[in-house]
């Protein structure tokens, strides 16, 4: 049996109240009013498609043996690097073994489901056994556009395999069709779009219909057999209309999450799937759709193991781990859509480029938050060094790799710093002490200074450390965030 072994999602903690968008833009875009209910997820300044993919993948693989994973496919159309494999960074951040296959799948909103199908085929083919699929998007939109209202940021991950399968793969069908409802050229930050009525009538309604028909014919089922219809589309009516056409009851149509997160791009099919898997019972047939210049349809059936799955921080926890943001200007600033006066201190941070050789030498430390644990005295320590930090030990060459990323920790000392440059001042940082030994002076993220307390429990998350625009480079490292 081949299928999904585990799943995980990640939604940024910040949720932008859509009213704040409308208030700022109604003078030029009064038409977006009917989209302005609810809230959308919004990347903090230190989040992007990669950091979200890391967190979704950590939630997906939490408590599982990562050594079994032999491939990582990362799907997104907003990856931070064009020529540096992003999936490779993801694998390093997860501290996976070196002998794995990694690849980025991109250039279409359908990339998430395409990565899913590619993984399933690889396992069925027998060459690979356990594959991690991550799909993630940080969506940049024009000020005042509908997309600004409709879109959200987020990531989802699936672990595929053939043991302890919770949702079995029953078949898939794909159609490729260069139907350009929107596109984004190589050097553009924004989508260019065609008329919505054309997209509905000639796009969704024709292409998705053809693909579902193809699958039904292939596996010999009808709409009446379907228990869950998972189709991401910013227009709820299109999904429900298609379901109706195939005889699928409306209560089986999965909500598109517009009110709580917005549409998360390539991640959204898998995101909605995760929201379903969390409440699904054994034996449910799920029809999953991915759309974009064609269509992917995947049929899954939940198994008895669905009750045993344990995600690190599940879908509902991600939804409720929210922090309302009403400052639209912050949203613009975090997405680099306005030019701010950052001061000379910010300039000085870019005096030296990132030494790529140092970064490579220390990749486990920097990207994976891997420290050391002394074989002699058992003291965990960061960074891993040749001589043990324990003053009672000081043994040389005794340290083995030790993953701090999953260790529970608390704030020992902290401050809010208004002098130093911060993208979201004041800078919050402090000494983070791990409950099982070891400590690190680290940035705090996703919280206000009023929320910080000495002794508060935190967890480590993978984030952007610095954006070097001059060299088009992003440094990543780990930060502490409150355990909620």
């Amino acid at each position: 049996m081949v299928g999904i072994v585990s799943y995980g999602v990640y939604l940024p903690r910040l949720r932008l109240n859509r009213k704040s968008i409308f208030t700022a833009n109604s003078w030029m875009s009064p038409g977006v009013h009917n989209l302005s209910k609810g809230e959308r997820t919004m990347c903090n300044w230190d989040e992007d498609a990669l950091t979200m993919a890391v967190e979704a993948s950590r939630n997906c693989t939490f408590g599982l043996d990562k050594k079994e994973i032999d491939a990582v496919y990362l799907a997104s159309t907003s990856l931070p690097f064009q020529d540096r494999q992003n999936a490779g960074i993801l694998a390093t951040a997860l501290n996976l073994k070196a002998n794995i296959a990694t690849a980025d799948l991109t250039s279409s909103q359908r990339a998430g489901t395409s990565a899913f199908i590619t993984g399933l085929h690889a396992i069925k083919g027998g060459d690979l056994s356990d594959i991690l699929i991550a799909a993630s998007d940080h969506r940049i939109t024009r000020i005042g556009s509908s997309q600004e209202m409709l879109f959200g940021d987020g990531a989802a991950a699936l672990l595929l395999g053939s043991n302890n399968v919770i949702a079995e793969y029953k078949g898939s069908y794909s159609i490729s069709d260069d139907f350009v409802d929107h596109y984004r050229g190589q050097n553009s930050r924004f989508d260019y779009r065609w008329e919505e009525r054309w997209i509905r009538d000639e796009g969704y309604n024709k292409v998705v219909t053809q693909t579902i028909n193809g699958l039904f014919e292939k596996v010999g089922i009808t709409g009446g057999d379907i228990d869950r219809f998972v189709m991401p589309c910013v227009f709820n009516k299109i999904s429900s209309g298609l379901a109706k056409k195939f005889g699928i009851d409306q209560e089986k149509v999965c909500d598109n999450m517009h009110l709580v997160s917005g549409e998360t791009g390539t991640a959204h099919s898998l995101m909605m799937l995760a929201s379903i898997l969390e409440k699904a019972k054994p034996g449910e047939k799920i029809l999953l759709i991915g759309y974009g210049q064609g269509c992917d349809v995947i049929l899954l059936e939940t198994t008895g193991s669905i009750k045993d799955v344990k995600a690190g921080e599940n879908f509902r926890a991600n939804l409720s781990r929210r922090k309302e943001e009403n400052n639209y200007m912050k949203f613009l600033a975090f997405n680099d859509l306005v030019t701010l006066d950052k001061g000379i201190r910010e300039e000085t941070m870019h005096k030296t480029s990132t030494a790529l050789s140092v970064m490579y030498r220390k990749k486990k430390m920097i990207l994976g938050l891997v420290g050391g644990k002394c074989n002699e005295c058992g003291t965990p320590q960061f960074p891993k060094m040749d001589i043990c930090v324990n003053p009672e030990c000081k043994a040389a060459h005794t340290q083995v790799d030790y993953e701090f990323a999953y260790q529970p920790a608390k704030v020992l000392s902290w401050t809010s710093d208004s002098l130093t440059y911060a993208a979201d001042p004041p800078a919050l940082y402090g000494m983070i002490q791990f409950d099982n030994g070891g400590r690190i002076m680290a940035d705090l993220t996703d919280l206000d200074q009023d929320e910080v307390r000495t002794g508060m429990p935190v967890k480590m998350v993978f984030r952007i450390k610095l954006v070097d625009k001059q060299r088009s480079f992003i440094r990543y490292f780990w930060k502490a965030t409150p355990l909620i």
């Binding site: 140092v358 930090v389 003053p391 002098l419 402090g430 400590r439 002076m441 450390k465």
Partner: protein
């Protein structure tokens, strides 16, 4: 155990520029200003200087690398000169080089000169320190941000009401402003009230503007020699070095959970060694004055305990009792301290010695203390969790 440096070397001359925002001068002029006063005080010909140590921390701002800025500026020909960089302890460490050279007999007369020209950055505060690896994982924090964390840990450890701590550190700054008012060379010469300090804009919680020392331009210099030569030059009383100690972090603070973040390990170690070297058994009773590294008011507070002057958890009481005020038992920062005299990093250690030296010789004018015999200086370079501490003790030769 070695017998140490006590009374082997005498200070025969010192000089110090006015500290402050010296927009009109560069490092060269500052060095000359300090050196001329120092040389005149020593009363020797400049050619008698046989070796020199230059301390400067941020060479990338206006001073330059190597010891060449000193040799070129002072036209010191054909003698060994070494540049010392050890964060904020650089000045004291340069002085240590000069003192050790005389004590070893390698030379008879040597010079230590510290300089920093900080006001050419275009922004307030210090630039970031670090290396290619550090920049990848250290928080992008400022010095006040790291030192402010002493407060959060101290508060938690001794269960102190944040308001009481804020008031105590405010008193630290008020006292230094009172003292700096009487120092014509000080950067900041304005008295402030406790309320002004408490209500000042926040820099790094809980440190407000007046809890932070200034960033200044300045230079200071010392010429040292043997007690015999000092006597032959007519120096009386003789001011001799009693102890010079440094201690550096081994990484415990950064990496081992035995440190609680509320004190500075290295200051405790360096002061303990210094008291031993100077033969001091009870510093609270024997030390007459102190110039400590009050980069931030909270640093001065914990330093009072780390120097074994106040009992652990007792600094707030001593501070509020006026123990360290100008008329207290051990006046601290009688020249205004880093807080008001200013903090040109490479010069600060030598500037502290300069004040003690003036006080011991009765030359401190309006801020003169009554007959001090033994003074302590302390520097803390770096951050509470990774640093260099230095402690020097000088006094009259009995």
């Amino acid at each position: 155990m070695a017998i140490g440096i006590k009374d082997k070397v005498a200070i025969i001359g010192m000089g110090c520029t006015k500290f402050g925002e010296r927009w009109d001068v560069g490092a060269e002029e500052l060095m000359v200003e300090a050196f001329e006063e120092c040389l005149a005080d020593a009363g020797i010909e400049r050619d008698r200087i046989e070796a020199a140590w230059l301390s400067t921390c941020l060479e990338e701002i206006n001073v330059g690398k190597a010891a060449l800025p000193l040799s070129l500026t002072l036209r010191l020909a054909d003698i060994p000169i070494t540049r010392v960089e050890n964060y904020c302890a650089s000045g004291t460490d340069a002085f240590r080089g000069a003192v050790y050279a005389v004590a070893s007999g390698a030379c008879d007369i040597s010079l230590a000169l510290g300089v920093e020209k900080l006001k050419d950055t275009g922004f307030g505060g210090l630039p970031e320190f670090g290396d290619p690896l550090a920049f990848q994982w250290w928080p992008n924090g400022s010095a006040p941000g790291y030192f402010a964390q002493l407060a959060s840990a101290y508060q938690a450890k001794f269960n102190v009401d944040p308001k009481d701590l804020k008031r105590a550190i405010a008193h630290v700054s008020v006292k230094s402003h009172d003292n700096g008012f009487f120092n014509p060379k000080a950067h900041l010469r304005k008295k402030v009230t406790e309320e002004e300090v408490i209500n000042a804009p926040m820099v790094a919680k809980p440190l407000g503007l007046f809890d932070c020392c200034g960033v200044s331009d300045g230079a200071a210099a010392a010429i040292v020699s043997t007690p015999e030569i000092a006597k032959s030059l007519g120096k009386m009383p003789l001011i001799t070095v009693k102890a010079l100690q440094l201690a550096l972090s081994s990484g415990i603070e950064m990496g081992h959970n035995s440190w609680d973040g509320s004190y500075v390990i290295t200051t405790r170690a360096a002061s303990k060694s210094a008291y031993e070297e100077a033969g001091i058994r009870n510093p609270r009773e024997e030390i007459n004055m102190m110039e400590v590294h009050d980069c931030f008011s909270i640093t001065e507070l914990v330093t009072m305990e780390d120097l074994h002057i106040s009992p652990e958890g007792g600094a707030i009481k001593d501070i509020m009792d006026g123990f360290f005020d100008a008329n207290g038992k051990i006046p601290c920062q009688i020249d205004g301290g880093l807080k008001c005299f200013g903090h040109p990093i490479g010069a600060s250690g030598i500037r502290m010695l300069y004040e003690v030296y003036l006080q011991l010789l009765g030359r401190a004018d309006k801020r003169q203390l009554r007959n001090p015999r033994l003074g302590l200086t302390h520097n803390l370079g770096g951050l509470p969790h990774r640093n260099v501490a230095s402690v020097a003790i000088i006094g009259k030769k009995e």
